[in-house]
Amino acid sequence: MADTTISTPRARRSGKPNLRLWLPLLWLGFVALAAILAPLVAPHDPLTQDLMLERLPPFFIDGTEPGYLLGTDSLGRDVLSRMIHGARIALFVSLIAATATCLFGSVLGLVAGYFGGWWDRVISRLVDIWMAFPPVLFAVLLVAVMGTGLTSVIAAIALIDWTRFARVIRAETMVQSRMDYVDSSRIGGARRIATLASEILPNVLPSIIALLMLEMGIAVIVEAILSFVNLSISSDDPTWGSMIAEGRNAIHFAWWVLLFPLIALFLTVLSFSTLGEGLKQRFDPVLQ
């Protein structure tokens, strides 16, 4: 009986660095830092208007004013400063909304998948009914009822998207529940809830993390969409969505007002979903 089959778990990790993990972390860290330090690092007040300086182009184009790196919008506000302050709102919303969505949806998914029976029937029907609503209409309706503002945006995201978590986590939990080690845990005298926490949750966790990251990206988009249609916070406040909405009017002669927040939005959403995949791999001992 040769016990030589113990492989070293860190073999693969010692190779080249995992770009899927580190590139998104780099960008998100950069955005997070900008968001936290916004008042310190933003070169201008994001709300100060100066009609003498309207639609200044970014630094690499002729006719720019020093100090306005990414140009100004049609009211003479600094695009870079507005983007930095917009990052605050984007990250705040994505963090709170995605976490709330994740907790709510995952708990329901775990309960439905593991306990089955009536729990599953009630939760699954609820998910079916919920998903029959068109999500964008639902969001607009919710915000219209609750009034505009960040709280409404966050509530709208959580109330719409919990079904994504509930469905995926329910399916994964059902697969795990049929595994022999769940039976072994029960024979070993563990309560059902303890089995759920110690045997099933760790196996489902990589998926929860991947979904959470995806949801953060989605939350950024939803916030941008609601800002775009003026249903997020007041239009004066700098959000990426409202910047894109404003820039739309001037796209032919001042494209930078629209393009830079769009790039920030794109990179952030992409980073979140890539990071989700990267983390899923990183935390799964079998995939490693």
Binding site: D3, I6, M179, D180, I187, L205, V286
Partner: protein
């Protein structure tokens, strides 16, 4: 009907298990295990072999229900218990060696806690004591470097090693009864032998009764003292292993033994269980079912 005494480790009396639509998976199954005895449960796939063990351990699939019958473990009536009492009783007295070592260990947890945690939970041992017990058992199943294995994840170990770990985990809480659910089916032939020997060694040392589920008559001959032959959830024959091989009473048992390939006589043609016998048995069972339904109405 036998009255359970404390002498027997396990008594299953007239056990019936049914699907939600009323179709019976087990039909009036009775069997008993003396302390230190190994009883083999044989039959083809779908005969309900595993379901007996699962109903004793309380891990039947949620769609199956025990509709009738008694399960008495160490003199305690399991059916009469509340779910939580039943769970702790089973944990203290019984354990499982599962069929597939690849799915029986949680892939995201290290081996150590998977053996140690139940010991702490069942016996209230200290972490150190439970750990010492786990290391001792791993050593007994010939795992070299048990410390390192306790610190490994299941996917870092071979199938044979994992099955030995599961045997160690099953014996660790000193159960009175172990259900071995086809523990060698998922392993290759060379490893099968070692695993069988290990189970027998530990079983004899500890005096644990074993309900050994298998479809392999060769394994039956090697490990068990008693045999229960099942067909379609019904007991065909219940006898000592010696009697089953030397003087099988039921035609199905005779057919099963005849169907086992012999290594000594490779020239002998392969003889499957005759289809006529199987259809006869099914007919009998259909009649039984009709009677059973009539009686319950």
């Amino acid at each position: 009907m036998t009255v359970a005494t404390h002498k027997t480790t396990l008594d299953v009396i007239n056990l019936n298990i049914a699907l939600p639509n009323g179709v019976r998976i087990l039909r009036d199954v009775s069997l008993s295990l003396e302390p230190g005895e190994v009883r083999a449960l044989v039959g083809e796939s779908g005969a309900g072999k595993s379901m007996i063990g699962k109903s004793v351990l309380g891990i039947l699939p949620p769609s199956l229900r025990v509709t009738e019958g008694e399960i008495i473990l160490e003199g305690q009536h399991l059916n009469a218990m509340s779910p939580s009492t039943r769970r702790t009783t089973v944990a203290k007295t019984a354990a499982l060696i599962p069929q597939d070592p690849l799915t029986a260990l949680n892939p995201v947890r290290k081996i150590g806690p998977q053996i140690v945690d139940p010991l702490i939970r069942i016996h209230g041992w200290s972490a150190d004591k439970a750990r010492a017990r786990a290391l001792d058992l791993l050593d007994r199943v010939h795992i070299r470097a048990p410390e390192r294995v306790m610190n490994s994840y299941p996917h870092e170990l071979s199938g044979g090693m994992r099955q030995r770990i599961l045997i160690a985990a099953a014996f660790a809480p000193s159960p009175r009864l172990i259900v071995a659910d086809e523990p060698t089916t998922a392993l290759d032939v060379t490893v099968q032998k070692q695993i069988l020997r290990l189970i027998r060694e530990l079983q004899q040392e500890t005096g644990t009764a074993v309900l050994f589920v298998t479809h392999d008559m060769g394994v039956v001959a090697k490990i068990s003292q008693k045999v229960t032959v099942l067909f379609a959830g019904k007991v065909m024959e219940d006898a000592t292993t010696k009697a089953v091989f030397t003087d099988p009473q039921h035609p199905y048992t005779r057919a099963l033994i005849a169907a086992t390939p012999s290594y000594a006589d490779l020239e002998r043609p392969f003889s499957p269980v005759p289809a006529s016998l199987i259809s006869d048995l099914h007919q009998q069972i259909a009649q039984d079912d009709a009677l059973y339904k009539g009686a319950r109405r």
